[in-house]
C-alpha cells in the first residue's frame, strides 16, 4: 500500500428524491486504499456509491476522477465510466457461460481475443472456479456467482472497485474467500476499493479507512483502528459498539 495520491473526490455532493437522502460536503479517496463504508440502513451508502459510479446523477455537486471533473461538460464520457466498476449485493450474471460473463468488460473494451482468453482463464483460477468455465452462469450457487461477478468486475483492472454489501448473502466460507480476493487485488494491483458493509467486523478485517454515514451525512472518517477504538462522534460510537437501534 504505497498509494497516496487522490484518485477520486467529491464536493458538495447531494441527492434528493422526495427529500434529500445524501449530503456530502467534501470527501476524497486515495489510490491503493481500502475504504469501508458503514452505517445503518437508509443512511445513503448505496446512493453514494451509485452516484460515484454514475448510475445515478447527483442533484448538485461535483465529482472528480483522476483529476478530471466528471460531467464537467454536462455529459459523462465512456472512458471515465470505464475507470470504475461496481459489484452489487445480489450478483447479476448474464444468461451465458461463466467465461462469457467474465469476458464481458474485456469484450466491451475491444481487447484482442487471445488476451481475453488468457485473462479469463487466469481470473477463474484466481477465484477458484476454473473448472466452471463452460458452465451456464445460472447454475452457480450464490457464493460462486458472487465470485464470478467479482472476477468479471476486476478483469479490466478498474482503478476503483466499488462494492455494495457484496457478502451480505454469503456463507462464512465464501465471505472469507471474497475478502481474501479483495485484499489480494488491493495488494497486487493497488486497486482502490470502496466497500459498503453492514458488518463492522468485516470493515475491521479489511478496511484501511472507515467512513460512518448517518441519515445522509458523512459523520466521521478515519483510520480503521481509530474509528473502532476511539470514535469522536457519539453516533459513531453507538454504532460501532452495537448500541444503535436501527
Amino acid at each position: 500500500m504505497t498509494g497516496g495520491y487522490e484518485i477520486l473526490s467529491v464536493e458538495k455532493l447531494t441527492k434528493k428524491y422526495e427529500k434529500e437522502v445524501l449530503h456530502v460536503e467534501k470527501l476524497s479517496f486515495e489510490k491503493g486504499k481500502i475504504y469501508g463504508l458503514i452505517g445503518p440502513s437508509g443512511a445513503g451508502k448505496s446512493t453514494f456509491l451509485r452516484l460515484i459510479n454514475f448510475l445515478e446523477s447527483p442533484t448538485t455537486g461535483r465529482i472528480f476522477f483522476r483529476g478530471k471533473e466528471v460531467f464537467g461538460n454536462g455529459r459523462l464520457d465512456l472512458s471515465t465510466q470505464r475507470g470504475m466498476t461496481m459489484v452489487f449485493q445480489k450478483p447479476v450474471l448474464f444468461k451465458t457461460s461463466v467465461s462469457e460473463n467474465v469476458a464481458y468488460g474485456l469484450k466491451a473494451r475491444g481487447f484482442p481475443k487471445e488476451e481475453i482468453r488468457e485473462k479469463v482463464e487466469l481470473l477463474l483460477k484466481k477465484v477458484g472456479l476454473e473448472a466452471f468455465a463452460g458452465r451456464h452462469a445460472g447454475s452457480l450457487s450464490g457464493g460462486e456467482a458472487q465470485r464470478i461477478a467479482l472476477a468479471r468486475a476486476v478483469a479490466f483492472d478498474p482503478g476503483v472497485l466499488l462494492l455494495d454489501e457484496p457478502t451480505a448473502n454469503l456463507d462464512p466460507n465464501n465471505i472469507e474467500m471474497f475478502e481474501d480476493l479483495i485484499l489480494n487485488l488491493n495488494k497486487e494491483k493497488e486497486m482502490t476499493v470502496i466497500m459498503v458493509t453492514h458488518n463492522i467486523f468485516q470493515a475491521k478485517r479489511i478496511a484501511h479507512e472507515v467512513l460512518f454515514f448517518y441519515e445522509g451525512y458523512l459523520v466521521e472518517k478515519g483510520p480503521a483502528s481509530q474509528i473502532f477504538s476511539s470514535p469522536e462522534d457519539p453516533r459513531t460510537r453507538a454504532f460501532v459498539e452495537g448500541r444503535m437501534v436501527y
Binding site: 459510479n53 454514475f54 448510475l55 465512456l78 465510466q81 470505464r82 470504475m84 466498476t85 461496481m86 452489487f88 445480489k90 447479476v92 448474464f94 444468461k95 464481458y104 468488460g105 466491451a108 473494451r109 451456464h136 452462469a137 445460472g138 447454475s139 468479471r152 468486475a153 479490466f156 466499488l162
Partner: protein
C-alpha cells in the same frame, strides 16, 4: 352431411397435391403477416425495452394505452386504416386501398402493441439490473441496449410469436382494407369466409387445416419459450 365428408376428402387432396390456388393464398397470408410482424418487431421491441426500463409508475399512462391497443378489435383497426387510406382519406393519394401494403399496415397496428407491451413486461423484471450491470462494466450505450434485449430474449421471442399468432388468424382488418380480391389480396382467413358462404367447403377446410397447423407450430414455439423463461437454459 355427405357434402361435408366430400369436402374434407377434397381438402386433403388439395393439401397433398399442393394445389397452386391453395398455396398461393397461404403464401400471401404468410407474406403479409410476416411483413407486418417484422415491422412491428422493429418498432415494438425498442419501444417495449425503453418503457420496460423506466420505473413502472412513470409509464402508467402509456402502459394503459398500450394494453388497450393490445386488445384492439381487428375490425376497428381495419376501419381506422380504411378511413386513412381510402381515396377521400388523408393518405388517399398513395392509392393503397385494396393492396397487400394496406393489409400489412392494418396488421401492423394489431401486432405492434402486442409486441411492445409484452416486451415491456418481459424487460421490466430484470432489465434495470441488467442495464446497470452492463454500464458499470463499461458497456457503450449500444452494447448496453443489446445486452438488455439479449437477456430478455425468451420474453421477446414470445412477444413476437404471440403477435404473429394474432395477425395470421385475424380476418376483420384484412377484409376491410384488402377487399379479399382473388389472386391479389385474398388470404387464408378471408378465403375461408368467402368459400364457406358459397358452400365450397373443400378450399375452406383445406385452409382451415393449414391455419390449425400454423397455430400448432406457433403454440409449440411459445410453450418451448415459456419453458425457457425463468429456468436457466443451455440451448440459447
Amino acid at each position: 352431411m355427405p357434402r361435408l365428408i366430400e369436402g374434407i376428402i377434397e381438402a386433403f387432396t388439395l393439401i397433398i397435391t399442393l394445389d397452386p390456388n391453395l398455396m398461393k393464398i397461404i403464401m400471401l397470408s404468410l407474406q403479409v403477416s410476416g411483413a407486418a410482424v417484422a415491422l412491428s418487431m422493429l418498432c415494438g421491441v425498442p419501444l417495449g425495452a425503453f418503457l420496460g426500463l423506466k420505473p413502472a409508475v412513470r409509464t402508467r399512462f402509456v402502459s394503459k394505452i398500450l394494453y388497450t391497443l393490445m386488445g384492439l378489435p381487428p375490425v376497428v383497426a381495419g376501419l381506422i386504416i380504411y378511413l386513412l387510406i381510402s381515396r377521400a382519406g388523408p393518405l388517399g393519394v398513395f392509392g393503397l386501398l385494396y393492396t397487400p401494403t394496406a393489409m400489412i399496415i392494418a396488421q401492423f397496428t394489431l401486432a405492434m402493441p402486442i409486441i411492445a407491451g409484452l416486451t415491456m413486461v418481459g424487460i421490466r423484471s430484470r432489465g434495470k439490473e441488467i442495464q446497470e450491470t452492463a454500464r458499470t462494466l463499461g458497456a457503450s450505450r449500444l452494447l448496453t441496449a443489446w445486452t438488455v434485449i439479449r437477456e430478455s430474449r425468451f420474453a421477446i421471442f414470445g412477444a413476437i410469436v404471440t403477435g404473429f399468432g394474432r395477425v395470421i388468424a385475424e380476418v376483420g382488418a384484412v377484409m376491410i382494407v384488402g377487399g379479399n380480391i382473388d389472386g391479389h389480396t385474398r388470404v387464408m382467413t378471408t378465403a375461408i369466409v368467402l368459400e364457406t358462404s358459397k358452400g365450397h367447403y373443400e378450399l375452406a377446410i383445406g385452409l382451415g387445416v393449414a391455419l390449425l397447423v400454423i397455430s400448432f407450430v406457433i403454440n409449440s414455439l411459445l410453450y418451448y419459450l415459456q419453458g425457457g423463461v425463468g429456468s436457466y437454459d443451455r440451448r440459447l
